[in-house]
């Protein structure tokens, strides 16, 4: 399963993408500013609420499974020492909290991705960042969101092709090599075909962007985002 936009009529779907971006930025800032368990507990509730309001659930987090081993191992590595006492709990706890806040940010991001069409994200970015930099950034974000699911599907197809011909019995290293080589080949081909498709459809750096308008539901979201950002700044000052 690839995390991507899912059409719907949830509260998050009805929000302006600019509001959602502000909530994300504010949330990330607050997560890095408030690292104590109590602060992270409050942010946990907010993160779960963000994903739920986008119609999402735990299944959406499966997309991040590649990051889970790193997040889980990081506290163990941080706590380990080369001599006695061999393991420092306080270091592991600090890193564990850091891993946890990364997870919370991913949860909020999942809510954003599943409730926001790619072109709305592009519009929000191009309106927030004026001029060429905004066009470049907006187009880049749009292309990444369009290209990554295709690339992932190509890698899965390559893996299935290896398995279908008995490749499952090969050593892990050989399987990784086969899938990587096939995946890179397909990625280049995919990028080439995507470029051709964009050309055929008159790709423009500054197209007509979707209408964006703040509605009544956006004001509480803006207040939450602004409040989180202010709380982060207040804790630093």
């Amino acid at each position: 399963m690839t995390l991507s936009y899912v059409p719907g009529d949830s509260l998050a779907h009805r929000l302006d993408p600019r509001s959602k971006l502000l909530v994300q930025v504010g949330f990330a800032a607050a997560a890095y500013a408030h690292t104590a368990p109590r602060g992270l507990a409050a942010l946990t509730l907010l993160a779960v609420a963000c994903l739920s309001l986008a119609g999402g659930g735990p299944r959406d987090l499966w997309t991040y499974r590649a990051a889970f081993p790193v997040l889980l191992l990081a506290p163990l590595v941080a706590g380990a020492t080369l001599g006695a006492p061999w393991f420092r709990v306080e270091r592991a706890a600090t890193t564990g909290l850091a891993s946890y806040r990364v997870l919370l940010i991913l949860v909020v991001a999942a809510g954003y991705v599943r409730s926001t069409p790619v072109r709305d994200s592009r519009a929000a970015i191009q309106r927030a960042v004026p001029g060429k930099p905004g066009q470049f950034l907006g187009t880049g974000v749009a292309l990444v969101f369009r290209f990554l699911p295709l690339l992932k599907r190509d890698l899965l197809t390559a893996r299935e092709a290896v398995r279908a011909r008995g490749g499952g019995a090969l050593p892990v290293r050989e399987r990784v090599r086969l899938v990587a080589v096939a995946g890179i080949n397909r990625a280049f081909g995919r990028a080439d075909r995507l470029g051709t498709a964009l050309n055929a459809r008159c790709f423009a750096w500054n197209p007509t962007l979707p209408r964006l308008a703040l509605g009544p539901a956006d004001y509480p979201a803006l207040a939450v985002g602004g409040g989180l950002a202010a709380a982060a700044v207040a804790s630093v000052v």
């Binding site: 991507s4 936009y5 899912v6 059409p7 069409p117 790619v118 072109r119 369009r146 295709l150 075909r193 995507l194 051709t196 498709a197 964009l198 050309n199 055929a200 459809r201 008159c202 790709f203 423009a204 500054n206 197209p207 007509t208 962007l209 979707p210 209408r211």
Partner: protein, 264 residues
């Protein structure tokens, strides 16, 4: 009208150029092709794999630049105004997955008109009209990933139609489609021709198309080997490794099937 004059395309060119034949370093995909496609015509470009069909039609909207010769659309050379050419000549690729760039049907069909800088009202009108033309009206919010192969093909056609092209090129539109989906696409082509859009279909299998076509161009090794009305062309196409039906009707209705008695 699309006019190609002396179009030659080579791949793997080393820069020494000048030869019209394979020279070991380059392959001539399209070799001195001259043809015109009048408005409202349904033209089939047929040929075996590697005969240059796709390369030729990609010169019609500037996706491939000819090494020699010129292509003009409605009197304007393609190289002079690529955006105009790509607006006038819609392209549906062989694999719709290569063409669909958005997550939902509505967003994908709107992609081209948005790039043209049209107003929101005009974009909405075009999206609705294009989806209606492919019998997918009201499905703007559907996820592309949830569509069947035939539906994806129809969305790809809608994406091209939303540009309101005077000419529509479809590259092997029936590949991978089951029978109902093929019939659906054929119905759409029939309606488009009736509406005055010229349709160019690239294929190596004319079993469904021969009865619908106004004209057939057969390519072999990049050269035009056949350029004739369907009935006359049908006799020569098997020699180009193109499948044709054993019999067909030319009244615009689906071709008569002959119980698998197709010529090889």
């Amino acid at each position: 009208m699309i006019e190609a004059n002396g179009v030659t395309c080579r791949y793997g060119r080393t820069g020494d150029g000048g030869s019209d034949a394979d020279d070991g370093d380059s392959v001539v995909a399209v070799d001195d092709v001259t043809l015109s496609v009048p408005d409202g015509e349904l033209l089939v470009v047929a040929g075996a794999n590697g005969s240059g069909k796709t390369t030729l039609v990609r010169t019609f909207n500037g996706l491939v630049e000819p090494d020699d010769g010129t292509v003009s659309v409605n009197g304007t050379p393609v190289s002079d105004d690529l955006v105009a050419a790509r607006s006038a000549v819609g392209m549906v690729f062989q694999d719709p997955r290569d063409q669909l760039v958005a997550a939902t049907v509505g967003a994908d069909v709107a992609f081209g008109p948005e790039n043209l800088g049209l107003s929101h009202a005009e974009i909405d009108r075009r999206v609705a009209a294009a989806l209606d033309a492919v019998n997918m009206d009201g499905r703007e919010a559907d996820r592309i990933a949830s569509l069947s192969g035939g539906e994806r093909e129809r969305v790809a056609i809608a994406g091209a139609l939303a540009m309101e092209p005077a000419h529509l090129v479809l590259d092997e539109p029936f590949t991978g489609l089951d029978e109902p989906a093929r019939r659906s696409v054929l119905d759409r082509l029939r309606e488009l021709r009736t509406a005055g859009t010229s349709v160019i279909v690239v294929t190596h299998d004319l079993r469904e198309l021969l009865g619908l076509a106004d004209r057939v161009v057969g390519l072999s090794a990049g050269r035009v080997a056949v350029d004739d009305a369907p009935r006359e062309a049908a006799a020569e196409l098997p020699g180009l490794d193109v499948r044709v039906p054993a019999s067909f009707e030319t009244d615009g209705s689906p071709p008569a099937r002959t119980g698998g008695a197709d010529d090889p």
